[in-house]
Symmetry: C2
Subunit: 396 residues, 2 copies
């Protein structure tokens, strides 16, 4: 991972204030824009959604957001009225430190569900963070680390675009690790831009980008309560339009895909990233449904982990996705190796297929149907004993 340059007009930090118990790890991030920014968000589609998600949903899209405060180690989900009050209080404290209105501040959390936030620690932490804000590479690193939970490393991405109206930057940070299932994933991502974009354009661009990135990844298919992707654009002057807006949208999508893949690559206990390409479906949604069903099959995931070319598990997972295809139109390739063509198993060398799975951290499965032009690219991880170990003892 190369650290991207920080978009102009932003300061940020990540500090440790005791939300992650028994550790000195950073657990509170604060991101601030010098200027009121357009802001858009996409969120978990879980009926049970965390308090900070509810607060952000109320406030977005907006044209004058000044910052985001994020805590890691506690999800502030399933915490009732107290949790909602705590999330609002976080924005009040952050706004007071900055001298703006609470409604101009956004909030996100990730961590254990169902425990009240340790508010004394959070309050002290926000004050500490406000004093530490900076626009340095170290500050970006600190913020990227402060939003992590069981991730093994920080996830950053960025783009610099030279537009006719001037150069703009995208700087993005994310966390993932587990409870990653569309839509979205237990993931947080914050994309900071110094472009000028209207809130409505920003929302449309983010929705489309998330649909092709964060909504196309899965670790174990468990949709979180806290998924939050925020996109800020604090550029002054005339909002982007036409080709410049299109270039900005493409850069946002690229950054989202880069972060989404980084989340899957760092999935808990994973030893493989599996790229699924499904085409020939009736439409893109149908292709994604098939890809997601394969991605969430523990039998597919353990087979890949074991370097076992047990392709029947892939084909049978496609078969229960709920898409009414005929077996005779289904084909499957592992890497370049055809395993199943138009419903007929192909002779192949299991040792060679197994060697491909052992030699590559990222492996490719390609499925084709003959129903239409719908297609999807989807990323998932394998399932390992280490994932089980990590998740059999997370809260206690």
């Amino acid at each position: 991972m190369t650290r991207p340059p920080l978009a102009s007009g932003y300061r940020l930090t990540g500090i440790s204030c005791g939300i992650k118990p028994g550790t000195q790890r950073r657990d509170l991030a604060f991101i601030v824009s010098a200027r009121p920014a357009s802001a858009a968000g996409v969120f978990t589609q879980n009926r049970i959604c965390a308090a900070p998600v509810q607060v952000c949903r109320e406030r977005l899209p907006a044209r004058d957001v000044r910052g985001v405060v994020v805590c890691a180690g506690n999800a502030n989900a399933c915490t009732g009225a107290q949790g909602l009050a705590d999330a609002r209080r976080m924005t009040e404290l952050a706004a007071a430190a900055l001298g703006c209105e609470p409604r101009q501040m956004l909030v996100a959390s990730t961590g254990v569900i169902g425990r009240p936030l340790p508010m004394p620690a959070v309050e002290a932490g926000i004050a500490q963070a406000a004093a530490a804000l900076a626009d340095t590479p170290a500050a970006l690193d600190d913020a990227a680390h402060a939003i992590l939970t069981t991730d093994t490393h920080a996830k950053l991405a960025g783009r610099t675009l030279a537009l006719p109206t001037g150069t703009i930057h995208l700087t993005a940070l994310a966390k993932g690790a587990a409870m990653i299932g569309p839509n979205l994933a237990t993931m947080l991502a914050f994309i900071l831009s110094d472009a000028a974009v209207t809130p409505n354009d920003l929302q449309a661009i983010l929705g489309r980008a998330a649909d092709r990135s964060f909504n196309c990844i899965s670790v174990e298919g468990h949709t979180s309560t806290n998924d939050t992707v925020l996109l800020l654009a604090n550029g002054p002057g005339e909002p982007l339009a036409g080709a410049a807006l299109q270039a900005f949208a493409e850069a946002v999508e690229e950054v989202c895909i880069e972060l989404a893949r980084a989340i899957v690559d760092d999935a808990e206990g994973a030893t493989h990233t599996i790229t699924l390409e499904v085409s020939g479906a009736a439409d893109d949604a149908e292709a994604r449904l098939i890809a997601r069903t394969i991605a969430n099959s523990p039998l597919v995931k353990t087979a890949i982990h074991g370097a076992d070319p047990n392709w029947g598990r892939v084909v049978s997972a496609a078969g229960y996705a709920g898409v009414p295809f005929a077996e005779s139109e289904l084909s499957l390739w592992l890497g370049e190796l055809p395993l199943y063509l138009a419903g007929v198993p192909q002779p192949f060398d299991p040792a060679a297929a197994s060697a491909y799975l052992r030699a590559n951290r990222t492996v490719h499965l390609r499925l084709t149907l003959q129903r239409g032009t719908g297609a999807c690219r989807f990323w998932t991880s394998d399932l390992t004993a280490e994932y089980v170990r990590l998740n059999a003892d997370y809260t206690t």
Copy 2:
């Protein structure tokens, strides 16, 4: 497990003929009715369905079935036209050995997907089995063992009913272990009865019983290509009706539930059976959708395995089931312990909750909504490192 008595008019056996490579384990079962029997079946809902499933679907319901031939170790799924010819050939050989029409013979398979059946071994095996048919307890045991794959033990259930028209018996054998996800599961079950029942009644009774048993279990949620449940009733005389038919239907449902639970109890690598009770849904289907979503969450399953009362995972899984409930109407109990009542987390002793999970092989989760009277009881297993180990290296 107590071995039930064998329903009258049946002979059966299980022999070893080399379908499971590199082992002397029994792998071919043959079940024969002395009289033509009414027969009904329910099957996988996977679009990719094995050749024997296709053959049984063509032939059922029927009024003159004479037997079932079953092979374990090879699923005969994704095997194209050759697989279909092989499945038909199995019924021809079995019928010839018995002196009946091939259409009077049913067939089932379980095992690895995508490999042609070793027909010379199967053909010799059917001849060997036909010579070994018996109505002894040992023969029932042999048949019950011959249909297993990674199951650790045979699964038998039975009922004896004293009806006004005479005493009838149900004798049932099943296999499970993994690739168990509704609807149905990678499971085979054969229920033999000496009652007289019309094929139409038999089909209706079996469909309803499967819906409340085999369609309410999950190991990892992967719907198999081979799921087959067959119900035979070979009783002479007037078909059951009225209260007697109702008693028979209840006994069939009880047997199906007993076998379904036995399958979950013997899930690959499992250390817990989890009973989910969902009530207060708008209808039963909605309750089942919530139960199934919780049952298939690896995060829920690993938490139970780790004796970790991480109830947020249960609540959040309910939240992404696709049922539009409000968080404020959701309550959750672990055993007798209330964890979440009407959207509010309850104080509880994590050590006591963890002790409950450690002390009990079967643990209970109860969820209530306030949408209506829909309810479901669902059984699943926990997810362990042993499950991963077993499934990371199954074919190779």
